[in-house]
């Protein structure tokens, strides 16, 4: 891929100066810790500028969540036909109830469960342990929700500290209930961010789910699994049809609007196509090693990347699929161009800064560029080295790269770079809107979406235009 041409006003020097100035406000120890996480982009250099996946520096106001958030919120919550039990005190389950927008089909409370199930730990549970209670509540849940295809137990901090053995309980209850009962030791204190929660969840799937079921119909040559799409605002429903129009047979989805037994049967597919590399690459590798299933990354944000991805995926199959892939691209290019024609004139030359999780800090860049918007800075809440390696080439030289950015740092960066839009999370949203800077929540699509696929691009373009061109911003500065 050709290196991007530099963005006007953005130079390595200016960026490094900004970083230095920002760090200078911190205590020495914090400076030392934070410095490696901030850098100016070098597209050419393979190994990227910044360190990642390190402990949060205490007190700096990180935007990170915890392992439980990564497990309950990201991986497990979206599986629609499972009763997901937040095992421990009341809070975690409540805060993560309906706040990620992983949409699901089915009848709530009957065949899908967008509810908050919790053991609501009390003092006595801490003192005497919660295993008995867990056993009982799993029974109660199965009785009240007989059509659930499984139950997951997601540990909150106390569980791991008081030495409960949820694995023994789930093992026993899986026998008793005759359906999948999965333990996930995702206590919030484990690891440095959501990321370990993803990994622990991958482990749970590896150890307690995959291989336990098989599809009803015989495997076919075009069977694939859609990995790492969490159906935020309906993303899966905009992405899956494209793969199907290509002639592929999407047998299971990990995990947006997903079904646990189909996930358990995924070892039968021919190819895993993965969108969110960060949260799911481990299971792809497991399936590759154990069952020889190849996997491929793709990007369904914006027509340019979508077309690239369709061709790359099609390349893994025969000519039928390749042809159909081209047909799909042709079919939608008109619509995509119409969207660009409508919005690009109003957005050309604008700049944006991003700070999100998973794949978006790099994957969405192309979609912005399709609309004429340049990204002057980007970063991840919980990325690893390999994420940044994949990011460098997507960004222009000298642009800002920030890992686990603190509120203090991000404010300074935005103040200096003055982007026309900031795309980040709910905690950051109003900080920047108060400053009169257009903002979109890019974890939740700001209550809009889908943003994946061609349908999603149309909505993405509308939303970005709405945010940047809303006349309300002209009202911010008072004439008196």
């Amino acid at each position: 891929m050709a290196e991007r041409k530099p963005i006007e006003g953005i130079t390595k020097e200016r960026t490094e100066e900004l970083i230095a100035e920002t760090l200078s406000a911190m205590p020495e120890k914090a400076q030392k810790k934070r410095a490696p996480h901030l850098g100016a982009n070098e597209p050419s250099v393979s190994s990227c500028a910044v360190k990642s996946n390190k402990k949060v520096v205490p007190g700096v106001m990180s935007q990170r969540g915890c392992a439980y958030a990564g497990a309950k919120g990201v991986v497990w919550g979206p599986i629609r036909d499972v009763v997901h039990v937040s095992h421990g005190p009341i809070g975690c389950g409540v805060y993560s109830w309906g706040t990620r927008r992983n949409l699901m089909q089915g009848i709530p409370g009957v065949t899908c469960f967008p509810l908050d199930f919790t053991s609501d730990f009390q003092e006595k549970d801490i003192v005497y342990g919660g295993d008995k209670k867990l056993e009982k509540l799993l029974r109660e849940a199965d009785e009240l929700f007989p059509l659930c295809k499984g139950l997951s137990v997601l540990s909150e901090c106390p569980v791991g500290l008081i030495g409960d053995d949820i694995n023994a309980v789930t093992k026993k209850m899986e026998k008793e209930l005759g359906k999948l009962v999965i333990p996930c030791n995702c206590e919030g204190f484990r690891g440095v961010s959501q990321s370990l929660g993803h990994h622990i969840s991958n482990d749970s799937i590896r150890d307690f789910v995959i291989g336990k079921r098989e599809f009803l119909d015989a495997p076919g040559p075009y069977d694939i699994a859609l990995i790492g799409d969490y159906n935020i605002g309906g993303d899966v429903w905009a992405a899956k049809p494209i793969l199907e129009e290509m002639g592929l047979n999407v047998k299971s989805i990990w995990t947006g609007d997903g079904e646990i037994e189909k996930i358990a049967s995924t070892y039968q597919v021919k190819l895993n196509v993965i969108h969110c590399y960060r949260s799911m690459n481990y299971m792809c590798k497991v399936m590759e090693e154990k069952w020889g299933i190849p996997w491929i990354e793709y990007n369904f944000f914006g027509p340019t990347k979508i077309a690239e991805s369709i061709r790359a995926i099609a390349a893994r199959f025969d000519d039928t699929i390749k042809e159909k892939g081209e047909q799909v691209i042709a079919k939608y290019s008109g619509m995509a161009q119409a969207v660009i024609d409508e919005y690009k004139p109003r957005l050309e030359g604008k700049t944006a800064m991003l700070f999100v999780g998973g794949l978006r800090p790099r994957h969405t860049v192309g979609a912005y560029e399709d609309l004429g918007i340049q990204i002057t800075g980007t970063g991840y809440e919980f990325a690893h080295q390999d994420d940044y390696d994949r990011t460098a080439p997507e960004m222009a030289k000298g642009t800002l790269i920030y890992d686990d950015v603190s509120e203090f740092e991000l404010e300074k960066f935005v103040e200096e770079f003055k982007p026309d839009l900031v795309g980040s999370g709910i905690k950051e949203k109003y900080v920047f809107q108060k400053a009169g800077i257009p903002f979109r929540q890019m974890h939740s699509w700001d209550y809009s979406g889908p943003y994946h696929g061609y349908e999603g691009f149309k909505i993405f373009a509308r939303d970005i235009d709405m945010a940047i061109n809303s006349p309300t911003w002209d009202l911010v500065k008072s004439p008196f």
Binding site: G88, G91, T111, K434
Partner: protein
């Protein structure tokens, strides 16, 4: 069977699905549901540290500091930002595994130093989440050590509260943190015989900044000097003028310190200020009064009369007129609400206020659900219902029952509407009835937190939303022959 055996996918027939779909709406299901002993489903309450953080936001230059995992802090901040659509700056010392082994002192010290250096707070209220509570960190010692080591200045106020999530709810965390801050700031400030002449007003855990502004309006109208405790008004209803301010408001620290010499202290939420008021009872000078959340006319009357009595100030004509207009609105609109049945869920103090208002309108508080409280509250609610034989007698109080219980109640014994926070929307949808949002959190509508529901104007606001929604439904669902110009 063994869980390792590979099985084909399970499939449910459409009939089976239909059966269960109907079954969960039955009396039989309700009984099973109410027989639950271990599982909690869709609770209408959160954990202590969230409440503690609300208090911590409510003081001048205050930076809430979570001793625990950063994930906790992120959850609290997100919750406040979704409800108020405002920033909620708070930090954490990001404890991890090793904390379990060595305790959280190192994280705390590093966190305090960084937070203080970067964000220059005037106050750093510290509160705990599960981990340090389970491992038993000695916050008192840790903080002392921090100051001894010079990590933070000796004179930086650092009140702390133990707010275990496995105990009580957000309203108890509110109580503990407020208690801690006031104790800390007022320590040694008491001067015998001194009286600031001011009222200390404690609104309690209230996600409605409009309510707080309304209290201030009353006090200013009555010319009563006051200090509002944990005043989140300008913190969570701040201006948008092109400048982000990390500390846009809050109770002035000197005022809080001086509050111990106040003329009187009023708490408007008994249930979220129990310990605080106990402390104030013993430490503060002046009168101490606990009053109900002033929803509806009578409780507002009582509040104003108490203010008038305590400060020997007349209730001004402007408020008399406001009362008269509120009563006018209620008499004019009673026919649209009278006799309607409501299911209500929320915190104890709010529930008592909502039920008072409904009874004054001739509505019927029917299913009253508090997902975490106690018998004493149940008795208080029952006593309130008993004050209105005609409209209160049908109400049933369900304590420590969650919103999945409420669903069973509404599906088996229907009501006309639901009043409660956003989480109630699922029941409202299944019951196909309107949902009037109130309380905390409300994350699916705008400006609910800006619209007062207390006081006279609050009564007008709340009945307007309710009456007009019922009229919307009539206009939207009636057949042509019943569609009319006037309602």
């Amino acid at each position: 069977m063994s869980e390792v055996a590979v099985r084909p996918l399970t499939e449910h027939s459409p009939e089976e699905i239909e059966r269960v779909k109907n079954w969960i709406n039955t009396e039989e299901y309700k009984e099973k549901n109410f027989a639950r002993e271990a599982l909690v489903i869709n609770p209408a309450h959160a954990c202590q540290p969230l409440g503690a953080q609300m208090v911590a936001h409510g003081f001048e230059g205050s930076l809430p500091f979570v001793h625990g995992s950063q994930g906790c802090a992120s959850y609290f901040r997100s919750t406040f930002s979704r409800h108020f659509r405002e920033p909620a700056a708070a930090t954490a010392d990001a404890m991890t595994e090793d904390g379990a082994v060595f305790g959280g002192q190192n994280n705390l010290h590093e966190g305090l130093e960084n937070a203080y250096t970067l964000y220059k707070p005037k106050l750093m209220p510290i509160y705990t989440t599960c981990m340090p509570e389970v491992i038993g960190d000695d916050l008192n010692a840790f903080i002392r050590n921090a100051k001894n080591k010079g990590v933070i200045p000796e004179d930086l106020p650092t009140p702390y509260a133990n707010t275990p999530s496995f105990n009580g709810t957000h309203i108890h965390g509110y109580d503990s943190m407020l208690n801690a801050i006031l104790k800390y700031l007022t320590e040694g400030q008491k001067v015998e015989g001194k009286c600031t002449g001011k009222l200390n007003l404690i609104p309690g855990f209230d996600g409605n900044t409009g309510n707080l502004r309304e209290y201030k309006k009353y006090l200013e109208a009555m010319d009563i000097p006051y200090t509002m405790m944990a005043d989140i008004t300008d913190v969570f209803d701040s201006v948008c003028d092109g400048e982000y301010r990390m500390y846009p408001g809050g109770t002035k620290l000197e005022d809080a310190a001086e509050s111990i010499n106040g003329k009187a202290t009023i708490s408007l939420m008994k249930w979220s200020t129990t310990n605080t008021m106990r402390m104030i009872e013993s430490e503060f000078s002046g009168e101490k009064v606990i009053m109900p959340l002033p929803m509806g006319i009578k409780k507002t009357d009582a509040f104003l009369m108490k203010l008038s009595e305590l400060f020997d100030k007349p209730i001004p004509q402007s408020l008399k007129d406001e009362r008269g207009r509120a009563v006018d609105a209620m008499t004019d609109a009673h026919q649209y609400i009278h006799g309607k049945k409501f299911a209500v869920a929320g915190d104890p103090d709010y529930l008592l206020g909502i039920v008072s208002f409904l009874l004054e309108m001739g509505a019927i508080p029917y299913h009253i659900v508090c997902s975490r409280s106690n018998k004493k509250f149940a008795k208080e609610m029952q006593a309130l219902l008993d004050t209105s034989p005609l409209y209160g007698s049908q109400g049933s109080v369900h304590v420590n029952k969650d919103l999945w219980h409420m669903r069973s109640l509404c599906m088996t014994d229907p009501v006309d509407a639901i009043i409660g926070d956003t989480h109630c929307k699922w029941v409202a949808r299944d019951a196909k009835i309107p949902h009037f949002r109130i309380g905390f959190p409300v994350m699916d509508r705008v400006n609910i937190h800006r619209t007062p529901v207390i006081g006279y104007q609050g009564a007008i606001n709340f009945l307007t939303v309710i009456a007009n929604k019922f009229l919307d439904i009539k206009d939207e669902t009636c057949e042509d022959q019943w569609f009319e110009m006037m309602r």
